[in-house]
């Protein structure tokens, strides 16, 4: 490694504890790690290893019980739910395993959704959405409903939606989990393309083949980052 990228995300001894009945469950038991701007990282690990909790914290859908989480140098571990939402709308793009496109909206309207919540750059929204669809090769499907699309197309629409607000970080949770082989390859290729364009991507998966696409792998085990094998 010749030059270290500027850190985008820094976690310092982040812990997340849930109370289940009488017992405390330590979903994250002290995680310290840095993800640089422009990195393509895969978070892998068996279920229950804490990778989903890590994902939720990175996505600002939850707050750490203790420790510090900063994003672009700013401490975001104690933001209000409204500030978290605004952060999600402006700086993050989500890609889900089950696509999570809203069935009653057209592909175009689905892609436009994050922009309406970001409340910025109002006017060129449609142009940006069209660009995002172009980038994933779905321009011809903009007016269709998600139900009229194949699985692979739906996930590409999901990626377009994650891209539309030019996020600093794309979080993908098992993005290929519901796809067949050919489509998996296509989606991974899309991620690699975005990465080579400078996009920071964190991909959560339990599939080692998928994880192999990423440049760096973070292995989670029992709520901690396992030492590199």
């Amino acid at each position: 490694m010749t030059s270290l990228p500027a850190p985008l995300i820094e976690l310092e001894d982040v812990r997340k504890t849930y109370r289940m009945g009488d017992e405390d469950v330590h979903a994250l038991a002290g995680v310290t790690l840095t993800i640089g701007s422009g990195e393509f990282v895969a978070v892998v690990g068996p279920s229950g290893s804490g990778k989903s909790t890590l994902m939720h914290l990175l996505g600002l859908m939850d707050r750490p019980t203790s420790g510090r989480l900063s994003f672009g140098g700013q401490d975001v571990s104690r933001l209000s739910s409204s500030a978290q939402a605004t952060h999600r709308a402006r700086k993050l793009g989500f890609v889900f395993q089950s696509f999570n496109l809203l069935p009653r909206l057209s592909v175009m309207d689905n892609v436009l959704l994050p922009l309406s919540y970001a409340r910025d750059g109002g006017k060129d929204g449609r142009r940006r959405a069209a660009e995002a669809l172009e980038r994933v090769g779905l321009s011809h499907r903009a007016r269709h409903r998600p139900g009229q699309l194949s699985g692979g197309e739906r996930q590409r629409a999901g990626i377009a939606r994650a891209l539309v607000n030019r996020p600093e970080l794309i979080l993908a949770d098992e993005p290929t989990g519901n796809l067949d082989g050919q489509n998996v390859e296509r989606i991974l290729e899309l991620f690699r393309e975005l990465h080579s364009g400078g996009q920071t991507i964190v991909l959560v998966t339990h599939d080692t083949n998928v994880a192999a696409s990423a440049r760096r792998q973070i292995r989670m085990q029992n709520g901690r980052v396992a030492p590199a094998a």
């Binding site: 859908m61 993050l92 989500f94 999570n100 809203l102 009653r104 309406s116 919540y117």
Partner: protein
């Protein structure tokens, strides 16, 4: 922008399940429709009453009628002269609040007098002797000719002014009644005027039709020829200049009449105030009962909306999770669902207005002979507004519940 999208989503939600939406909106539609119908009925009745009150002399008319004296005065009844033209004179001199006085003597006070002309008959007329003031108090209008003047009375002339129906009965349309002679109980009277037809339709019936069956003679002529020269009157009506002082004027009339009748209470005074009070009471009870029906319908409609929205939110938990993950704040979700609730209220209100218009027309058709309900624009606005408000109130709790959903839990919902 988000709000408009929310409204659009709301309308989509309604259109996506037409039957369910209709059931959801049923209470709202009933509430709005009954509100419009209720206000329409009350307004229709009010308009009817007002016109009827006007046609029969208005609030400013005070009548005096004969009544049996109280038991303790029974033996004194004979000393009272009864109501005579002298009463009119006395009131005129002593009660300044009275602007018109109408002493009246009817051949048959129940209006059963037949009038004839050249073999044509006009049955069941009110033939009565009057003074000129009656035209003001009983609100007659002239169609042709002139009304009875004071000189007609003083000279005891045999002239008559006839109502429109009497004219129709006795004359062909081609004939001019003026100057013709009619037969009242075997006595000839020359027609000097014809009243304009009084029409006040209520549910297809002319409720002031009896006015068109009037035949007015000069009072003195009628007393001489049909009352054996006695001055006893059938009615003695007054018109009060200022309704504000009605009570005081009525008291003054009462006092004067007691003196003129030598202390015998063989008369009673009637104002239309009592009828007006009764109208107001009916209006209030109608408003309360129909308003209650509307309020209950709207309330039940609101609960149904709350219920259906909670169910719809349950189906859409995942959608709410997705929206939250994409950056929707609590207030964005809240606003979106409130917009949907408003859209439900608007659609329900619009359908309710249509149903209300239909209901008003149905009532007009169903209830002939009643004052027809009116379609009041302010009632339509009120109904629509009430529907919007119900939608907002009903949507608040579901919207609040949805806004507070935890994004992670919502996303994992299947």
């Amino acid at each position: 922008m988000l709000f408009l999208t929310g409204m659009r989503d709301g309308v989509r939600e309604i259109l996506a399940h037409p039957v369910r939406s209709l059931l959801t909106l049923f209470g709202l539609i009933c509430g709005v429709a009954s509100l419009i119908a209720m206000i329409g009925m009350v307004h229709g009745m009010l308009a009817g009453w007002r016109a009827f009150l006007y046609e029969t002399g208005g609030l400013e008319k005070v009548g005096s009628v004969a009544s049996r004296p109280p038991a303790y005065q029974k033996h004194l009844a004979g000393i009272s002269p009864g109501r005579t033209a002298r009463d009119a004179e006395g009131i005129w001199r002593n009660v300044p609040g009275v602007t018109h006085i109408s002493p009246e003597f009817a051949i048959d006070e129940y209006g059963g007098t037949e009038v004839k002309r050249k073999g044509r008959r006009s049955p069941d007329n009110l033939v009565y002797g009057v003074v000129p003031d009656v035209i003001v108090i009983n609100r007659y209008e002239m169609e042709r000719g002139r009304f009875i003047a004071s000189l007609d009375g003083e000279r005891g002339r045999c002239v008559a002014v006839i109502g429109a129906q009497v004219a129709k009965d006795l004359f062909t349309p081609a004939e001019d009644p003026l100057g013709q002679t009619i037969d009242v109980k075997g006595q000839p009277y020359r027609v000097i005027g014809v009243f304009r037809e009084a029409v006040f339709m209520q549910g297809g019936r002319n409720v002031v039709a009896s006015k068109n069956r009037s035949v007015c003679l000069p009072l003195k002529t009628a007393l001489l020829r049909f009352n054996g020269g006695s001055e006893r009157l059938t009615w003695l009506n007054f018109r009060v200049g200022d309704v504000e002082h009605l009570d005081e004027v009525v008291d003054a009339i009462q006092n004067t009449l007691v003196i003129l009748h030598r202390g015998v209470l063989d008369f009673s005074l009637e104002t239309q105030e009592e009828r007006a009070t009764e109208y107001r009471r009916t209006e209030r009870s109608l408003k309360t009962s129909m308003g209650g029906v509307s309020a209950i319908s709207l309330f039940v409609g609101g609960i149904v909306i709350t219920n259906i929205m909670l169910a719809s939110i349950k189906e859409r938990i995942r959608e709410i999770g997705v929206r939250k993950a994409l950056g929707a704040r609590r207030r964005d979700i809240f606003m979106q669902l409130m917009a949907e609730a408003l859209a439900i209220g608007a659609v329900g209100g619009a359908l309710g207005v249509l149903a209300g218009i239909g209901l008003v027309n149905l009532l007009v058709w169903l209830l002939p002979g009643q004052p027809p309900p009116l379609l009041v624009p302010s009632a339509i606005a009120l109904g629509f507004g009430a529907s919007l408000l119900t939608g907002l109130i009903a949507g608040a709790y579901p919207a609040f519940t949805a806004a507070r959903l935890d994004p992670i839990g919502a996303l994992q919902n299947e």
